[in-house]
Amino acid sequence: MKNVTDSFISLSSAEGFGLNTNILETNIINLSVVLGVLIYFGKGVLSNLLDNRKQKISSTIQSSEELCKGAANQLEQARARLREVERRVREIRVNGYSQIQQEKNDLINVASINLKQLENLKNETIHLEQERVIELVQKQISYQAVQRALGTLNSRLNSELHLRTIEHNIDLLLAMKNITD
């Protein structure tokens, strides 16, 4: 039995690290054939795959860059439009203010003219009324004076006085006739 184990030990025992140069044992020919075929066929497939991937990535980047550029352009346009609109708003506001001011002034002017006219009218009316009243009062007073004078005349008149008055009046008339002649 010792022989058996010994021979197994001698089978498996080796001398340490080293290089095996036996071409058949290391299976180099088959491995190189397999590697060659693998590289020959695999290379095309792999490079095709990777090229496609690269192209896809670059086209995606390009398209997104274009999109970005377009969006930036649009943003710029929108900003410009916003500026324009803001400018117009300011203009309109300023115009509106000035117009409102103008209208206000006009209205104030018209109103003041109207006011002045009305004032004049009022003054005139008051004046007229005053004159009318004064006239009325004068009439009344003169009427009353004539009435009182008539009363006094009636109460005091006698034939002598009557005659004297007539005499006096005739003289007056004569004198007037002489003057006219």
């Binding site: 290089l19 095996n20 299976n27 792999l46 690269k54």
Partner: protein, 248 residues
Amino acid sequence: MDILQFPINMLNYFYEISGVEVGQHFYWQIGGFQVHAQVLITSWIVIAVLLGSATLAVRDPQIIPNGAQNFLEYVLEFVRDLARTQIGEEEYGPWVPFIGTMFLFIFVSNWAGALFPWGIIKLPHGELAAPTNDINTTVALALLTSVAYFYAGFTKRGLGYFGKYIQPTPILLPINILEDFTKPLSLSFRLFGNILADELVVAVLVSLVPIVVPIPVMFLGLFTSGIQALIFATLAAAYIGESMEGHH
């Protein structure tokens, strides 16, 4: 003794022509543990390749990716799509690194094992191969997946995560508990078995007919390796998504 000697010589002869080593390991003694050094060495190489390519990709990042950056971004997109379809639109984000690590490590391990002539480097014992053809690697990856989906479930739903064990009916409780053990088991054994079987078939064919005949099987092995990496990553993502979603 003479009777015994003959079969051993025969064995020796067959051993010489086959050169297929199964269960032979190059051990390192670290602390109290014996570790499989050939697995560690190839794992380090795989990790170095992955880190190196990642560094290469992010060294000079450009808006329109080129070369390595383009390729690794494509890989990242692939992993992210995988995680999104399995985990869901809302929660897949934090799990992309985990799923990606699983997928890339397994995939690069498998393909490195299938494409690089590891036989050139001779070890004192055993031989260099894909890290995933050692059961320890696949079990470690599967257990990490288990921990990940438990963690995902607990952080998402707290203790309510245990409610999923009696989800359709409480009768299914034993089966649901059993599932937590079968998931890492099936994950690890599927990957390990596929890769080991592939490498063994290639090795046996090479020992029988060294040239040309193993080539179709090697292509098949490449295909299987890729599929297995994809399956492992998809299942890990599906388990994580399922534990966060909360129903079967």
